[in-house]
Symmetry: C2
Subunit: 558 residues, 2 copies
Amino acid sequence: MSTNRLIYLPLGGAGEIGMNTYVYGYGPADKERLIVVDLGVTFPDMDSSPGVDLIMADIAWLEARRDRIDGIFITHGHEDHIGALGHLWPKLKRPVFARKFTGLLGKLKMDEYGLPADALTIVAARPHVVEAGPFKVQFVPISHSIPECSMLIIDTPAGRIVHTGDFKLDATPVVGEGWDEAAMRAIAAEMPVKVLACDSTNVFSTHAGRSESTLRDPIRDLVKGRRGMVVATTFASNIARLKTLADAGIAADRSVCLLGRAMKKMVTAGTEAGILPDFPRTISPEEALEVPRGNLMLIVTGSQGERRAASAQLARGKYLGFELKENDMFLFSSKTIPGNERDVLKIMNALSEMGVDVQDDAGGLYHVSGHANRPDLETVHQILKPAILIPMHGEHRHLREHARLGKAAGIAAEIVVNGMMMDLSGNRPQVAEYIETGRTYLDGTVLIGAMDGVIRDRIRMALNGHVMVTVIMDEDDAAMGDAWVEVMGLPEQGKSGAALADTLERELTAFLNTAGAKVLRDDDKLDEALRRVVRQITVEEIGKKVEVTVVVSRLSEG
Amino acid sequence: MSTNRLIYLPLGGAGEIGMNTYVYGYGPADKERLIVVDLGVTFPDMDSSPGVDLIMADIAWLEARRDRIDGIFITHGHEDHIGALGHLWPKLKRPVFARKFTGLLGKLKMDEYGLPADALTIVAARPHVVEAGPFKVQFVPISHSIPECSMLIIDTPAGRIVHTGDFKLDATPVVGEGWDEAAMRAIAAEMPVKVLACDSTNVFSTHAGRSESTLRDPIRDLVKGRRGMVVATTFASNIARLKTLADAGIAADRSVCLLGRAMKKMVTAGTEAGILPDFPRTISPEEALEVPRGNLMLIVTGSQGERRAASAQLARGKYLGFELKENDMFLFSSKTIPGNERDVLKIMNALSEMGVDVQDDAGGLYHVSGHANRPDLETVHQILKPAILIPMHGEHRHLREHARLGKAAGIAAEIVVNGMMMDLSGNRPQVAEYIETGRTYLDGTVLIGAMDGVIRDRIRMALNGHVMVTVIMDEDDAAMGDAWVEVMGLPEQGKSGAALADTLERELTAFLNTAGAKVLRDDDKLDEALRRVVRQITVEEIGKKVEVTVVVSRLSEG
């Protein structure tokens, strides 16, 4: 028996949707050669990560083993798969591989952060093979909601792995390569699939997935029936959708204008990659302003209610000279990601106030998902016949359901979450080790750990308000003058009717004037005592336990 | 022509879902006698109201006219209709009217805040009439997702108003009075309906609403098929659902135990009101701990993911001695209210990690809505044939769609949002005046205005972090010692690698040592200058514009 082993370690994306970061390894234990699949981000929210700009996997484990990494492979250009490249690559500095469209997006990211874009190599699809240490990797074209998505075939001395990336079974995806069942069968026929690491996002959707092309007629009919301006929003990276929307506009004698930085970036990259030969002609915003509204269609960013994107700007009023009004229509050709509901509804209501007819996908006519539904997953299981199924891309409930599905079909399936290093050498996956994992936050320009306490403090200030106490102690450890209190994020007046800051200053000063020398002399004791006074008074006055910062200045130290 | 007018003024609930607070008035302009319908709350969220406990309408307009108020009428016991009673009644101190079950809940609220429970009068349903100034009010039983909901008939010298409250057309609502079309027709036959103020919540649901009783068989079948413990959650106030769930448990030979304070409160009030003659026997949590898990069913609070409710507690681990495990089932017999998705999913995933099978209502089998859907609304329009339709209970998009529906049926319909005082005297509603409205926050024990700046400051601290600067100036307006900096909610280190607080202290001290006397002497100028230094350094070091509090202590003042 070989002493080499095959390992799988998700650092992000397993037990959550987003932040995809997976590691495969082959070799002697703790000396495996490694490859990384995807370096994605997830997005912050006010509840758990206020003020944070981006969230990515904590890759400390990888960083400590960077000399063992033979390559970083990016399956496709969605932010949850490529978004951390510019932030985490400097910690790894290893070669990156992607196909052309994805690669162009990746190079933009490298450029943006002043990193060497040539660290990223653009490679061809299967049958082209990228050799990375003991791994032979092929990019297999697969349909998704962004062009040029890839499933990876990762051949190792221990057998063949298929890492699906995001995918759906769409034979007519409007733009890019469609689902090719024969090609998929050939993969399994060529060599038995030992491990299938498989997207689980839509495992709870019980009907077969629908093709992107099914949207063409409903969207065309919808746009044709309108007289005012038509605005449509979707993910900029869904270039097929952009094309479907734009085609519908052209068919209704409308000029089409793309609004939003991401739109232009995606269409430019698509054109450069040669995957957009027949995208309709679009006009610039300046030209669009000259077009009668009944002959204009805007395709805009911001389907998730992002505050600074074009949709939100248009909902707030005039944007780049455009102003929506009665009888215009705004189409959300999109699904609202859980957590974004309030922001999206806010835009819908603001548009409603302008008299705009808002059309969402409630009827299921104007949007299709980019992920394989349950029957589609079953199809893939049947075609690839893996010995081992590892569900990925999903919250725990998705992974669990997907594993259940695999087991029902007789496949050894295991729920593997972030940090579980699995040994895949045998016939059943075994836990090799638990790795400490977590999240890294991009906060402004700094990377901080999710557990550093920074965000915890922000949340506390947001929930409880902040009281700042300043006292000056003289050389004899007596208070000079009164305590000084500033409050932030707290009601001005308490129950007593007096100003909260005044009440606090009075009580703190009274305390200082009666406290014993033992307390007054000792910074820690004094700090603690002053905090206690503040908390007691705020509970009485306003019913809240506030955050307190105490500054004791001792003149003797000056 | 009379100089009296009939007015309608929503202060909450029109342009939003929740916080229902409506005013009707009749009499000479600006001297109308008034009644209030409902005093509801809405719930805070971290995005827009961190740390807030409850949100209710700003009733300053009403408070200034309290001597003109002849009654406060509560349609039903949901928090968005009755929740502000204990907080806002002291500002009005006028008689409150409700039917028995609702009234008992209202009295509990009055008691809780030390208010006179006898200010609330329990009244009978139609044909009983409550006379309140020029208004003759009748409570008409109507089905909803809480027992004993009422539609109000408000007869005025200017004609009949029907204020629907929340409602659905459910002839078989399991508990309480069902939809009675004949009774509804009698209302219109008795006297023409001038104004219909109508629930709009479900105007976008295009199919006819389903009866509560349709859930009986699916829930019974679901529970019967289980071997482990069964836990179900729903709104505690949905007593019909509690009964359906409990009946399903009993039918599967399970003892039923209710967990959560709200459950007990609702069932007690229901029993006291005499509307629960056949609710199955339940056992206490202590008794339940002795029952084998295959013979136990828990019905628990927390369907919206509320952090302190029983569902969340069970998802976190042991709760009151109960611990869920493999093969148990957890049923969400509920719909997730927009904005609560993340909290609910967190619970579902935690349960999944425990091996619990989570069943939600994805299939539409285990929950029905309490609101009239579009076809049901059309039915009501047709039966009552109002001259004027005023959509209420809805975001702007709901009101707009509902008005569109009314207009399509030939009814004069108007979109009226909070603060729009409408004159309903003529055949079409006319705007009489725009009233300044807003939100009042219960924050701890204090009521604050939404626009007071308190919450804005909390949000800023959460997004940007907080830097506190202390400097001590001597009698000659020179800095004594160095500037002192405390940071909260910010990364410890900046780009330079040094501690952020140290960098700030060094730069601030350098500034103090070189600044001119004009700045050092003037508190405002000094404050502003120090802030500028802090902001500049934090942008350089961590890429963030932080919140800054500056405390300048002048010894000369001591």
